[in-house]
Symmetry: C2
Subunit: 441 residues, 2 copies
């Protein structure tokens, strides 16, 4: 079983910053994040992860806003940790492949092989307006660019063979020019000559992670991703997603085991069930409903006044096809509300805790049971742990849930490798090593 | 007096990697750089600095090639140091202002106010080919974009007022929306809505550094730079450059003291003068002349066979006006060769040590004398120290030259501030603080 700690300022519950224990400016406090990473490493988590988007969501009144750029933040954390993997989100829509491929290779070098890249296409018109565009490129266009972006990145990471550096002081020849070659990529979105200006990194490529669950997103994941973060509300939905994605990968000729699926879960833990429920209530009561309704309205492409608090969602919402933004998130929210016949107020409570991810509320044993049941029912290869409150929710999970999973033989008690790929049991990409293979044949 | 340590793998002498003491793969070794930074901090240097270009110069045979992306590398170094400033080079031609402004603000946050940005426009067609272009934009066009890029970055860094974060847990209001505003920039090169997705950083802006000495480069420096790195071969040239740039800044209404000028020097230090000269000879003899001639030919836009080793440069070289690349470097090399009537072989020796920067060879006292004479003759506010061999050249300078400068009262014996701006005696930009000023008036 694989565990990723999804870190976000004071926690995933949007009101977590209001708790007495929380540091409300944790979002810019590198020491806060270093401490979280050390806790996750103590719990033998595979990795930590930061979401990201190159835009400020407009309402800074509501909750901690703005965040440190993830490759910088993870590099700052790398020095304070030794083993845990470091996964940063970066957009293929609003970056250049040359710069970004080099940045991830650099993080991989300085962390001795612990870098991962969560590949996102960045939904929404607001981000586009920070990058010379009036609106975002269409959904399919963003995914087309993402696929080519990845192809360029792979070529750049392979533009140095592993044994290109000779460092022969005697003859004065530092590198083998034959083993460092331009990539001469010419495509629809990119023309990139290469080679990269950096020797191949410890992992070859960073771990490739993907988190979009739209049709386009699943297609990209099946082809390229090695780990997938996903939001699934029920065991049945999670099983269906798991089976679907594994079979898509297999249909493309990939080993389905090479694609690890990690649903997000929000563990709300108490020493008794009622203590856990009390924590959940305390948090939900701190949500300011007018703020939450504004965000829900934006996601649903309606006005806040179209969403009376004590009524269900309006019947005439757009189809997913009409949504050019975060398609899978849209569908998840609408499906959840309709399936459980939730009012807007109830829906806001459910989303405030985990933004659509599944909440497991209970004692450490109950949370471990739920995790085990999903894991053993082919719904997950592991979990993306989203503590509602940080650091306390991660400390509790690490000290009280992880030992149960370890005792049951479900989770490692010690790291057995040094790189992020080692932790996920994934191979190092071989790269362009023809001459090596010839030499050893 | 201000001192910056310009760090580059095994040193600035192109043959330094061939010395027995050198780690030939230091270019990807973060621990090598951490150790250098700690040495410079022990010497109370203002800052360390990395050059950069998003392209691999093609000949990896010649010397250590490829380098860690500087904002990542400096972040990795930040954790191992406490006071020293951290200056990264980044290109305005091949980045987007939103991403880069955020990245520098992030480095400033995680380093508690020690970030600096060396603004470059990136000469040469090879870099362009990594970014969807067949050739580089024209020189003037690159500088026009650089100026607008900086204006956008300043607006983004000021898009959050310093007191925008309220963190009022009781009322549930995290930030003041009035103090976080879009920038709505619409210009020739960029349309950027903003605001930045990060609260204002400790220094407000990173220290702005510039290093181009062409007419366009000097114009950009006079308007925006707070520190300038420059290559000057003679005291008279350095004095003329210093006077010129200070008066350009004054003509634009700036305080000339707000612009610090740091010529690059290559200190070749021995316990006796002849020991220093022997080190210089040892290094020069390790240069492979055919490699060096290839690079010289590229810079001069001629073929290697046009440059016989034992003859002076050809008479019919292009004018600086015709050079769309690194104009000031071109002129410096041609001027040096003509003034001293150097053969190609001699010129290669001079350039191999410092790539056109001034070499001071001698005992620690002689090097300190030379530094003092330039400093006191209005040729410099400080120096960009470019050790020919690393780490040994930096250790020698720190342990043997810095104490002399300190004993003469020319250089600090302890840091008096905590930020990079503090070290250079430069103010923190006030930002958009109208409401603060009103409140305290």
């Amino acid at each position: 079983m694989h565990l990723n700690a999804f870190l976000m300022s004071t926690g995933h519950h949007e009101a977590s910053w209001r708790l007495p224990e929380s540091n409300p400016v944790a979002n810019t406090d590198v020491e806060h994040y270093r401490e979280l990473a050390r806790t996750a490493e103590r719990g033998k988590f595979d990795s930590i992860f930061f979401a990201d988007s190159p835009v400020l969501f407009s309402d800074v009144g509501r909750r901690p806003a703005g965040s440190l750029e993830p490759t910088v933040l993870l590099t700052a954390i790398a020095a304070a940790t030794e083993r845990i993997g470091l996964i940063a989100t970066a957009s293929t829509t609003y970056n250049d492949p040359y710069n970004l491929a080099r940045r991830f290779a650099s993080v991989d070098h300085v962390s001795a092989g612990r870098a991962g890249w969560n590949v996102v296409t960045t939904a929404g018109p607001d981000a586009a307006k920070n990058f010379n565009l009036a609106d975002q490129p269409a959904h399919a266009e963003r995914y087309d660019r993402a696929a080519e972006f990845l192809e360029v990145a792979f070529k750049l990471w392979d533009s140095w063979q592993d044994d290109a550096t000779l460092a022969d002081k005697e003859s004065g020849v530092w590198g083998d020019n034959d083993k460092v070659q331009p990539i001469e990529h010419v495509g629809r979105h990119f023309q990139v000559r290469g080679p990269l200006n950096l020797p191949r990194s410890p992992q070859g490529y960073p771990l490739i992670v993907q988190a979009g669950s739209s049709e386009d997103g699943k297609g990209l994941a099946a082809r390229y991703a090695e780990a997938v973060f996903t939001a699934q509300q029920t065991l049945e939905d999670a099983q269906a997603f798991y089976a679907d994605l594994k079979s898509r990968a297999a249909a493309l000729g990939r080993d389905p085991d090479g694609l690890k699926i990690l649903p997000g879960i929000v563990p709300v833990i108490g020493s008794t069930e009622s203590e856990a429920q009390a924590l959940e209530r305390e948090l939900d009561e701190l949500i300011k409903p007018e703020y939450a309704r504004q965000q829900l309205a934006r996601t649903l492409r309606v006005q806040p006044e179209d969403l009376p608090f004590d009524q269900p969602l309006p019947a005439d919402l757009p189809d997913e096809d009409e949504i050019e933004g975060a398609k899978s998130r849209y569908t998840l929210i609408v499906t959840l509300a309709r399936r459980e016949n939730l009012t807007v107020r109830q829906l806001i409570g459910r989303l405030g805790g985990g933004r659509g991810h599944r909440t497991f509320t209970g004692t450490p044993d109950q949370v471990a049971d739920a995790i085990q049941s999903w894991f053993e029912a082919d719904a997950a290869d592991g979990f993306n742990i989203m503590p509602p409150v940080l650091p306390s929710g991660l400390v509790t999970f690490t000290d009280q849930v992880v030992p149960i999973l370890q005792a049951r033989g479900l989770f490692r008690t010690e790291y057995t490798g040094t790189t992020l790929r080692d932790h996920y049991g994934l191979p190092r990409p071989a790269g362009r090593t023809a001459s090596l293979q010839e030499a050893t044949a």
